[in-house]
Symmetry: D2
Subunit: 454 residues, 4 copies
Amino acid sequence: MPIRVLCTGPKGVEYMKEFKLAVLGGGSSYAPELIDGIAKRYLNGEFHAREIVMVDVPEGRERMETVASFTRRMLAKQGVPCEIKTTLDRREAFDGASFVISQIRVGGMLARQRDEHIPLKHGLIGQETTGAGGFANALRTIPVSLEFAREMKDACPEAWLLNFSNPAGLVTEALTRYADIKTFGLCNVPIGIKMGIAKALGVEPSRVSTDVSGLNHLSFVTGIWVDGKDVTGAIFDSPLFEHYLKVEKYGPEMGRFLRRLRLIPASYLFYHWCAERALKEQLADISGEKGSRADEVMRIEKDLFEIYAKPENDSLPEILKKRGGAYYSDVALSCISAIVNNKPAVEALNVVNRGAVPGIKADSVVEVSCMVDGRGPHPLAQKPLPQEVLGLVQQVKAYENLAVQAAVTGDIETAFFALLNHPLLPGADTVRLVLRDILEANKDHLPQFAGKSL
Amino acid sequence: MPIRVLCTGPKGVEYMKEFKLAVLGGGSSYAPELIDGIAKRYLNGEFHAREIVMVDVPEGRERMETVASFTRRMLAKQGVPCEIKTTLDRREAFDGASFVISQIRVGGMLARQRDEHIPLKHGLIGQETTGAGGFANALRTIPVSLEFAREMKDACPEAWLLNFSNPAGLVTEALTRYADIKTFGLCNVPIGIKMGIAKALGVEPSRVSTDVSGLNHLSFVTGIWVDGKDVTGAIFDSPLFEHYLKVEKYGPEMGRFLRRLRLIPASYLFYHWCAERALKEQLADISGEKGSRADEVMRIEKDLFEIYAKPENDSLPEILKKRGGAYYSDVALSCISAIVNNKPAVEALNVVNRGAVPGIKADSVVEVSCMVDGRGPHPLAQKPLPQEVLGLVQQVKAYENLAVQAAVTGDIETAFFALLNHPLLPGADTVRLVLRDILEANKDHLPQFAGKSL
Amino acid sequence: MPIRVLCTGPKGVEYMKEFKLAVLGGGSSYAPELIDGIAKRYLNGEFHAREIVMVDVPEGRERMETVASFTRRMLAKQGVPCEIKTTLDRREAFDGASFVISQIRVGGMLARQRDEHIPLKHGLIGQETTGAGGFANALRTIPVSLEFAREMKDACPEAWLLNFSNPAGLVTEALTRYADIKTFGLCNVPIGIKMGIAKALGVEPSRVSTDVSGLNHLSFVTGIWVDGKDVTGAIFDSPLFEHYLKVEKYGPEMGRFLRRLRLIPASYLFYHWCAERALKEQLADISGEKGSRADEVMRIEKDLFEIYAKPENDSLPEILKKRGGAYYSDVALSCISAIVNNKPAVEALNVVNRGAVPGIKADSVVEVSCMVDGRGPHPLAQKPLPQEVLGLVQQVKAYENLAVQAAVTGDIETAFFALLNHPLLPGADTVRLVLRDILEANKDHLPQFAGKSL
Amino acid sequence: MPIRVLCTGPKGVEYMKEFKLAVLGGGSSYAPELIDGIAKRYLNGEFHAREIVMVDVPEGRERMETVASFTRRMLAKQGVPCEIKTTLDRREAFDGASFVISQIRVGGMLARQRDEHIPLKHGLIGQETTGAGGFANALRTIPVSLEFAREMKDACPEAWLLNFSNPAGLVTEALTRYADIKTFGLCNVPIGIKMGIAKALGVEPSRVSTDVSGLNHLSFVTGIWVDGKDVTGAIFDSPLFEHYLKVEKYGPEMGRFLRRLRLIPASYLFYHWCAERALKEQLADISGEKGSRADEVMRIEKDLFEIYAKPENDSLPEILKKRGGAYYSDVALSCISAIVNNKPAVEALNVVNRGAVPGIKADSVVEVSCMVDGRGPHPLAQKPLPQEVLGLVQQVKAYENLAVQAAVTGDIETAFFALLNHPLLPGADTVRLVLRDILEANKDHLPQFAGKSL
């Protein structure tokens, strides 16, 4: 089922591209948002994802079926003829697919909970994408992702793998380095900042464009345009700036400093620059009712799945917004649309650098503004990041490359050096302790480290 | 008159952008093609160049008025309400303009004739953009272009200067380095190759995309996609390849070599790689009836202006195609459309490198695939050129940077070193002789070298 | 008094070079070691530092006079005709000097004590060259060093400034960037590692050579040769390795990791890689009798000056070794010998990179193996550092460049970003508090920050 | 027979290093100069090349025996106990050798004659190291050199190969890329310039040092020091400059231009910058009595071997100086001395770049000032070459890399592209013709191209 088949679309759209899409982690609570976006793209004639195959692990089957039924009702209500299928057999999902979206969580929400809790035990920030938690997540997710990629190589060698699975930068680094498929990584952080700017200015998001440069969850908006007019200076000099920076979070003085740099950082910079406060907040959360973010998400997901399960519900619930990940499907569907229609769009994506982000090696994955068209994403050459942040980016990239290598090889010393390079880890003693805990707690998901210890 | 004003367009196009455009070198025989393209863009609702001001030097006034009258008839016939004005006063043209197109020829066709004839006297290829002829052209054109740019800075500081004036790479290098306006350079060579590919494959040009990397008139297509599918290998391995390579020109064996490199060069590479044959052909032409290319163009232009002048003529003449420069207005208008509508398009343009072409300094101008949107062009990071051509590109870039410096400073030694660096110049003795001839023959147009000699 | 004057030397040395040397910080307890080395170089005929002018601030006068008298007795005993002078007037010291050695401590030992104590108050490592303490030291020392340099430019423009003043990497970065004299920075760490290797192997130090690459106090030995034979592998695979690595300090497992990297780090890496343990040790020291390193050094210096002051003492006391800084004069005098005799020697020095250390900008100061001859030091091009350490080096270099800029401009935000970039600082909140304390505690020595606050 | 054995030397030299040396191309007319230098180094106690094994091809046996007998008389006269052996068996020569000097000429002087004559037939400069002639020489010499290297890897894996065989830059590039031995390339051009400077200034050569950067036969002196004092400016501004530039050769105006660049080029730049004149001179020579350089050298060698053959002759003949290659043995023996004594010296050598010459890839061989000690040569990081020459250097390096690849693989298309990249070749037609002639004329020495044709 190739992309290029044309079909007649709704309401005056005479022809549009149709294709098959596979969703790894189909039981994700996010999935309805994605399906909703697909429906909209069908209705406005952009493309027709005629067949959508959700695939999940056996433990996720029930959730997946719930999501599938719910989204079928959503589509039916809107008169959108996409067919939703479910399977536990990836091969079935991949056969003939033009796109595969990966949004898996190896070990499920309980593994995420451990990623958040273990570091806290050692006085470290607990987070599923950065620090020791993100590292554990990478160790689990990278081998599984490479296995998918090998299967895709057989079943649908021309298909694109859109990777949302976290830590997205590291997983994409692994995929580009060790797999032989077409792939790129996505994140909703850059589009979130852009949407925030649009909202603050009261303009249509399509009129706003931003230059994004850095790494996943450590990228920076270095320029802002409205209707092609450079408004970077104007925005940084106006009180609007605080809006999308959420500067109160960083503390009043940081606002002044960030304004001077003319940079809007991904919100995850907070973990690096305001590590003390971030840790304090997490420790407070975890010892109170709120719990860690995983605890919170589990509560939200419980509510969400209750809603999805009710046969009378057939539209996106309001509380989905609390789940995080806003706009995530927008980026993915914008890229799919640009690819199937071979019509250029600009999105910030995780791709091989090729020199687009100066100071980072050409063969490393970066998060950078890309032009996407039928060929996929192509990085736009960026001006250098200021030294105020470039050193951190270089240090974190060293960590990322080592972490990917550790995840692929299962080499314990590489794992040690990877963590030792992470700016949120204070030194070798802590690295040793937290690494032991990670390997022990995740042993069911880390066959590559079986029998190895520090 | 800002770009952003919206107006009601024709045939169901409710709103579109309108703006003023200035055309430097309005008396160019190409101008009708540009106006024709503008008319088409109006009719399909892309944009409305409400006011088009042609400006030229006094010697070009008559030609300009002929073109203006002719194009007014063309527009009237199609019912397009663009207003064509003419002036000798650049200031008047620049005031309120959103775009300025520069397509000047300092010294006119006679200067070009000299650029082609002087090198031939010394056994060198005579050409208006490369070799000693292109160098002379750069010396004349760069100071005048910088003067325009300074005037624009005053009169329309937000306007874009689209530079077609040859040698386009060198003039754009000078503009980006020494002027403080928004500018980029254009050339019809990359689009010509793309169009040739589309024709050979029998597909719509919009379905084809190419990766372009190098310098103006020394760029290379390094990848070809149809509908986003990589067909580079398929094309190079098929007999189609010869079509757009015009391989018979290079000789049968060169085809084999070029196929191996997986590169389609700009046709001007012929002057470098097949210098002997190019020279032989030029010497044959010049001693026969055909004359040099300038002689030929002058004959064509004579015919063209006769057609333009006849009051009954109101559509583009067939023979305009012989004039060369096919698709030149397509590139320009595609860029203008992308800018005014803030809608991404991909074009190969001359812009500051920023690392997009590896092996060339980040602050030098290159010809490279760019994404253009409301902000103007943004270079797409390219893979490295193979060493089979990179050395030549680096050598020519050294020449270009020195030539620009010579044109701006009027320093005779820099001029000498510039030419000595040109691969088509055999050595210092010839450089000295040809440089003397150039300075003497062009002295009316080279005030910066007044009183200086070797 | 130029370098090139020849004089008759002792014991069969017919002719040798003589010159004048100025020592900034002449009252340093180290100075006798330097003078002792100078005596040895005279006696073996390498060079004759005929006139040695010690210069110090008024508060240091007494110590300086003590040192001067003591070293005069040392020289007299050995029959070395170097003349020791003292002055408070730098100009007098600089006039006619061929070399200036800077070993100052702005604010004296009490300032160092504060550099060590203030960070500890905030739970940070307190150290005079790295972390917040090193930063404070840089803020004090850089402006004074630049003042020296300006005076030298007038008084002895051809003289070399050998900078030992800490933090040596940052002060040298400032001198190469903001002053216009011949200068380089020195440190005894790389030579200490080399001496340790020689001792462990039981070979003459002159038979050992090492490749050194990185930054001051963050450099790495990346290769070891004995008699020109590469013994790197052999050494790392032998138990000898632990000797000069002092691996017990890093913990048993770190030894395994470091062995794998084939790197011997400067001992200061301990502060980065074993930050927890370093902090624990310092906190224990400071709360016990030992106190901080400054407290310890003050006790040693008290003893030393008592010895220096006794008229009967005329040779280097044993306890000088406890003072630290072993071999420091060896590096300096080896460089001076190479320069005055125009005879190549290899030393690890702090110089402008020029691409010798890949991954660090060409115009930044690095610590790297250099060939020194009459022209001064010339960096030897190094192989890339492994990613296990390069990220840290890049991050610390970003800190260094910002710290230098802060010290020169007195800009509070640059100071903030500098510290925020230091890997030993956990985040903005701590940066703010510790920066306030530093500015307040050092205000007498930081005129550039007068009236500025966070 | 390892390097490190110590022996008692002559005249008060108690201990010195002794070793075995193999000379490939022992029948070279240069060899006596080398042996003379070895004798001098023995007498001044630097080292003792106790056993010198000359090896040559059967055709060279007679010349080799003549040289051997002559040099034995030379050594005997001076009382130097080096033993000169001869063999046709390379293995015998390599066994136990510490150094191997390669100064071969594959195909002998007749092949060189062809290298000089074939290009002239096509209107191209005929030269054994550059242009088409140097290319033919590379095709012949590289495979043989790699064979030597493989044998050395077995027989004397710790030995150094000092490569003088021309084209030295290309042969060394091949050796560093495709062989696994310790090697570097040498040339007498940089030392010749240095000697010329010393002579013009009337100072001892040891007081002069130069910065050399570029490629073999395309290197540039970018700085000059006397006794460590920078005299670059002074020299270029004095009439002395013309002395070592031999500026009359370049023409009066070129002197002005070169002076401005502050560069002294290797004399071979004449072939690039003054190609017309070089060609004219060669054509005049070849059609007259003088003949090509090979013809001239053959006449000189005839005279030389007559002298060598006379039993009464036992010292270096005056006419050896006409042979060219002055100081060549000085560079080699200075490097050997630095290596065996592990005592730093500075020489301009052909080594892997490592970033020392900016703008050339880190893994390519360059000619650059190196510090040589027991470990061999280590490149000194250089400042960038000016753009007036860097483009040419980059272009020639592209040629070199392709030529090496062609020589190793025997790939005809790579050979074609290599020549097409050479700045002295005008274009594809000539490349084709000259390449055919080269392959045909050298077919006995180019097994890698057997059966291949254009």
